[in-house]
């Protein structure tokens, strides 16, 4: 395989929901992964976890059976191991602590990850998303907007990209002046432009207004933004912070725009909490997800108490407000928070997604993340803890954006070209560091590291596998696909749901056992094959009719092929076993014969087995080892075993074992 740092035998992998379903196997530690391989060659249940996915490691008190080790991952996988020897456990623990917190970028997986593409393919991959092309698509440059090179060499703002789009009337002098009046010099720049009505979304950081400071250039900058939209005589300035936070910033010489100093602005607070509140909120929600057999009240109360959905709604509401201003009022909006790289990114991208159907396509969504997050200096490294750093900088900022998209997908099922899996895989790779896209905190840092020459792009990888990520209900000519989305704002009109597909992602037992998406994808795939076959058959028929006298043709294999086409549910099957519905059953002596009848468990279409090619969820599909990744199919769920386990781990044993 690879070089093992450590290898421990007889490790037990616990099932979170059922203590009786522990698997015995060997634990390996490599330079990049933690790997658990179950004993017994038949099933070979494996779990692969990239070190960069590890968010915390907990060593618990030693028991008679061994020393428990709890590994929590950033993709919400929770792995509970019991290691027989305390000393082994300690060694693993110490090694993992070190491995999970690299100090240099070069230690990250993307620098060693090799998908065996040649140089040209890699370069092509990086070209898949091109932001200049994107601004051209929006209709820019035009009479009102232009590209500015004021930030070439990152001279004005080191967290901005070199190419920034600004109003034509904003001179370099105005831009530089404005930048000096903004936190971290993040001056107002264009995020989205609506060519139908010239309204735009611009973004910046907070002004350094303190209690009374002014800046002429900054006022001119906002004026220039307003002028770039001839249809409106004012712009909205949206501060996405709670008013109290913004006011507190004034004491530090920062703050928000004074309507009196800027001509023709309407100032608006939309309170989204800061990264610390969000981090704690997620923490609380994950605690709820981890509860062992919670009651409905425990769960709902915990969910409410975490405040998570409230925060999601706040972000969505801000996006809705901006989309409405742009689409319905035709008014341009300047969005900022404090530094303009967290809440601002969330809100701008939600608004863009609501406004422009392009961002709801697979390619468009990549462009959107590249535009509002990557290029504008969202601090991926700090927020997602890629390198060892200040834990207080970590926050699920982009996770929240991704969830907003999912919530929209639930309400507008035909509006998005991609499916839930696409979102989950993007979230996964933001943390995996397998691809270079999300490394570092800014474009400047990425260029210095020569990311594009040394790593691969996630977008090319996803694009290559796009068939897996298609929403079967999407049609580019569908009415839901067109125009602006108008979600409702009250919880009773727009139901914000708990996203178990993400936060309980690895507990398959909690998910629907049959996936509508996968079923429809299989149908569509079959349809496509049928279309092709129909074509072939028609041709053959024509030929045959034409050459009735000719010798008959060589028998084709059509018929065999068509047999394989059928949507066989029993091939793609997942054993469905019951959960523990009662503790009372345990103590009842099992005198009845075991009826471990194979056919007893439902064999059905499910996400896992239909997508047996689930790409690289544990980042090892391209490993040289050739060991197939099974981690994403691990039966960590409540009583849901993949079919390969059903043979030996008969569910009968599970429920009547004493």
């Amino acid at each position: 395989l690879c070089h093992f740092f450590a290898q421990v035998e007889n490790v037990r992998l616990l099932d979170r929901l059922s203590s009786r379903k522990a698997a015995l196997g060997t634990l390996y530690l490599t330079a990049t992964h933690v790997i658990f391989v179950e004993n017994g060659s038949e099933t070979r249940k494996e779990i692969w976890v990239l070190h960069s996915q590890i968010s915390s490691i907990e060593k618990q008190a030693t028991t008679a059976t061994g020393c428990p080790l709890l590994i929590r991952c950033k993709n919400f996988q929770v792995i509970q191991l019991v290691i027989p020897q305390e000393r082994d456990c300690h060694d693993i623990y110490i090694s993992l602590i070190r491995l999970a917190r690299p100090v240099k970028y070069e230690e990250l997986y993307c620098f060693s990850f090799n998908p065996k593409l040649d140089k040209e393919e890699r370069e092509q991959g990086w070209k898949l998303v091109d932001l200049n092309e994107e601004y051209n698509r929006m209709g820019i440059p035009n009479n009102y907007w232009q590209i500015s090179d004021v930030n070439r060499d990152y001279g004005v703002c080191d967290s901005y990209p070199t190419e920034v789009y600004v109003p034509k009337s904003a001179t370099a002098h105005i831009i530089v002046g404005s930048s000096k009046f903004r936190s971290r010099r993040r001056f107002p720049a264009l995020s989205y432009y609506c060519k139908d009505n010239h309204a735009s979304i611009c973004r910046s950081s907070q002004p350094l207004s303190g209690f009374s400071a002014r800046c002429l250039e900054d006022e001119q900058m906002l004026q220039a933004i307003r002028k770039a939209n001839p249809g409106s005589n004012f712009i909205y300035v949206v501060d996405t912070r709670p008013k109290l936070n913004a006011m507190a910033n004034r004491a530090a010489g920062k703050g928000y725009e004074n309507e009196d100093n800027y001509s023709n602005i309407k100032f608006q607070f939309i309170g989204i909490e800061n990264i610390h509140v969000m981090r704690n909120s997620l923490q609380k929600m994950l605690e709820v997800c981890e509860l062992k057999s919670p009651s409905m009240s425990d769960f709902l109360w915990g969910l409410e108490n975490s405040g998570w959905l409230k925060h999601i709604k706040a972000i969505m509401d801000a996006g809705i407000f901006i989309a409405k201003a742009v689409a319905e009022e035709g008014v341009s909006v300047l969005v900022h928070c404090s530094d303009g790289w967290d809440r601002t990114a969330q809100v701008c991208s939600v608004a863009s997604l609501l406004l422009d159907p392009y961002y709801r396509t697979m390619k468009g969504f990549m462009v959107l993340i590249e535009k509002d997050w990557v290029s504008f200096g969202h601090k991926f490294n700090h927020r997602y803890g890629n390198l060892d750093g200040d834990p207080k900088e970590i926050s699920p900022v982009i996770d929240q954006f991704i969830e907003c998209v999912w919530q929209l997908m639930e309400q507008f099922p035909c509006a998005f070209e991609f499916n839930e899996r696409f979102l989950i895989h993007i979230q996964h790779h933001i943390y995996s560091c397998q691809f270079g896209n999300f490394l570092c905190n800014s474009q400047k840092e990425r260029r210095e590291l020569k990311i594009q020459e040394r790593t691969y792009s996630l977008w090319a990888h996803l694009w290559k596998n796009r068939a897996d990520y298609l929403n079967p209900l999407y049609r580019s000519d569908h009415s839901q696909t067109q125009g602006t989305l108008h979600p409702r704002m009250a919880p009773c009109n727009f139901l914000y749901k708990f996203w178990s597909g993400m936060y309980n992602r690895f507990e398959k037992g909690l998910h629907p056992r049959q996936s509508v998406t996968d079923y429809l994808m299989a149908v569509k795939e079959e349809t496509q094959q049928l279309e092709e076959e129909l074509e072939v058959l028609r041709e053959r028929l024509a030929n045959l009719q034409e050459s009735q006298l000719n010798d008959n043709k060589v028998k084709s294999k059509q018929q065999e092929r068509s047999k394989q086409l059928g949507l066989s549910t029993s091939n793609n099957s997942l054993a469905n076993t019951p959960q523990e519905y009662s503790n009372d059953l345990k103590s009842f002596p099992s005198r009845s014969p075991s009826q471990g009848d194979e056919e007893d468990s439902a064999l059905i279409l499910t996400q896992d087995n239909l997508k047996s090619s689930d790409p690289d969820l544990s980042a090892n599909s391209d490993q040289e080892s050739g060991v197939e990744d099974l981690s994403c199919r691990s039966p960590s769920g409540g009583g849901c075993l993949p079919s390969e386990d059903s043979g030996k781990d008969s569910d009968e044993a599970v429920f009547l074992a004493v």
């Binding site: 919670p294 109360w301 959905l309 209900l473 009109n493 028929l541 549910t569 019951p578 099992s590």
Partner: protein, 548 residues
């Protein structure tokens, strides 16, 4: 009584109808004996709303000057508002609606007046007869018999005339058992699990009382369902505490000493006003237009609706699990509510037949209608009622919700769709059909419902209607389907509870798209098959010619 006496103002013009997500419409309001009819005058898009008076749960009236407003809240949870010019007209209409929506006599209900406008292909009253069920059973086992002991409803008033009991137990013994069970509901067969010959029976609580009365025939009856040397499970749908308290009132539970071959499991499922209050709170939360997320979640939690769903599903899964290895007896107190929830859901989990449209209808008939679930009492009022009668409770709605939860987890395993379940919910509360009238077979036969009213099944089981209720994703799944009962897996049934509060356009479109995808696939399949056949024939001809 003449309905005309109750209708002082049969018609009002210039009435404005308000509904969420629709523009207000002006039109004419008409009252008939059973309907409130609103028709808009707009010629381009004439629109009619027909509302059964029996669907109206409560009405409120308000006045601003001479403009009256009536807010009508329906049992299917919709809320509409009518602005009626003229104080007197408005008052008249309001009092008529009030009177007509709360008629005392069943025989005045609409089903007794309804004349179907469709051709009756199959009389639904005769679609699901006990004989057919027994015939099916006889083909796999001869251990059971049909007993006509209850022919004149003389033994048990809430049981059907014919019941299935162990062959070895004669009617004399049954009579004794009936004396020992609450409401005379002695244990009868609910479900026979073909795979292993295990059975599920249901009954009411035994009348052990405080001094531990026993009944040898009762013990013999349920023991007759056990395989030699095997044990069985009794699932009591009450907590042990409540079951113990029931002894003071003459009820009780099976004592270990007298039923040594049985293991009793208590699973608490709520009943009566606790459920009704839960529904009221849930619907109130769903109608709260505030934008506050915390408030929504805490109201959802406080309603406890999903807690009840989880309890019921858990008990049903447990019952299904037990049947996998032993025979089961399910009961609560009367055996007409939580008992039926458990026995019917267990069958959906175990028996693929119950997941077909016809099989599900048969299940509703067997396990709810014939089993004596008091529909008329339970569904008299819905979430907007103020009456607070003890016997009103959304027991059947909870059952449907549980079915929906399983359907959501196994979207390809049911022949019917969500609309089918919603339709059953609507008809259980207000209907032109007689199916859900009365509280048991006894009452239904006294009311002569089969003769005087139309069966819901006569209407549903016509091709035109059936297509609306078919699940395009259905693929027969012959296996047991175990749902997850974890809180993360259970969701609010939007299709019922947010139905009138959200625009359904996008979800409807998605459903339509789904149908189209599958339809197109099937068409192609047919085309390909036809071509293949044609080609094969031609090739055979070719060969024959060659051979010649």
């Amino acid at each position: 009584m003449e309905f005309a006496e109750l209708i002082k103002t049969p018609r009002a013009d210039n009435v404005v109808l308000h509904r969420p997500f629709y523009l207000a419409v002006e039109g004419t309001l008409c009252l008939t004996g059973h309907h409130l009819i609103f028709s808009s005058r707009r010629q381009d898009n004439a629109e009619e709303l027909w509302l059964l008076h029996s669907n109206i749960d409560s009405i409120e009236k308000r006045f601003v000057g001479s403009l009256g407003t009536i807010i009508i809240k329906c049992k299917d949870l919709r809320v509409i508002q009518l602005d009626i010019p003229g104080m007197e007209e408005c008052l008249n209409i309001a009092s008529s609606i009030e009177a007509l929506s709360t008629l005392d006599s069943v025989t005045l209900m609409y089903p007794f007046f309804y004349r179907p406008m469709f051709e009756i292909v199959e009389d639904g009253w005769r679609s699901f007869l006990p004989d057919q069920e027994f015939e099916l059973l006889s083909s796999v086992t001869d251990e059971w018999r049909m007993s006509c002991i209850n022919k004149e409803y003389s033994v048990c008033s809430s049981y059907p005339p014919v019941v299935i009991v162990p062959k070895s137990i004669d009617d004399e013994a049954l009579r004794k058992v009936a004396m020992f069970r609450h409401g005379s509901r002695f244990p009868v067969l609910s479900y026979y699990h073909k795979k292993n010959g295990m059975v599920m029976m249901r009954s009411s609580q035994p009348l052990t009382g405080t001094n531990g009365r026993r009944c040898k025939e009762d013990e013999k009856l349920i023991n007759a369902t056990l395989r030699p040397g095997k044990r069985g499970y009794i699932i009591d749908t009450r907590s042990l505490n409540i079951a113990q308290q029931a002894r003071a009132k003459g009820g009780g539970f099976e004592q270990e000493a007298h039923y040594p071959q049985w293991r009793r499991i208590h699973k608490c499922i709520e009943r009566f006003n606790i459920l009704q209050e839960s529904l009221i709170k849930l619907v109130e939360a769903c109608n709260d237009q505030s934008h506050n997320m915390d408030r929504w979640l805490s109201k959802l939690e406080a309603s406890n609706w999903l807690t009840h769903i989880k309890e019921i599903l858990t008990a049903a899964c447990l019952a299904a699990q037990c049947i996998d290895r032993a025979s089961v007896l399910v009961h609560g107190t009367e055996g007409t509510d939580s008992t039926l929830q458990v026995t019917s859901l267990a069958q959906i989990i175990l028996d693929p037949r119950c997941r077909t449209i016809r099989g599900f209808e048969s299940l509703v008939v067997r396990e709810w209608l014939q089993a004596g679930h008091p529909f008329q009492q339970r569904c008299a009022q819905s979430a907007y009622s103020n009456s607070k009668q003890k016997w009103e409770a959304p027991v059947f709605l909870l059952f449907l919700d549980c079915v929906w939860q399983i359907l959501r987890q196994f979207p390809c395993s049911f022949e019917f769709n969500e609309q089918f379940l919603i339709m059953l919910f609507e008809h259980a509360y207000a209907s032109q059909f007689g199916t859900f009238l009365g509280n048991n077979e006894n009452e239904r036969s006294k009311l002569k419902l089969p003769q005087k009213t139309m069966s819901l099944w006569s209407w549903v089981n016509r091709t035109e209607e059936l297509t609306k209720f078919q699940n395009p994703l259905y693929e027969a799944n012959s296996l047991v389907i175990w749902p997850s009962v974890a809180p993360q897996s259970l969701q609010l049934w939007e299709g019922v509870f947010l139905r009138w509060n959200r625009p359904s356009k996008f979800l409807d479109e998605a459903h339509e798209e789904m149908i189209n995808i599958i339809k197109y696939n099937k068409e192609l399949q047919a085309k390909v098959n036809a071509l293949r056949r044609q080609l094969a024939e031609m090739e055979t001809d070719d060969r024959m010619q060659e051979n010649l």
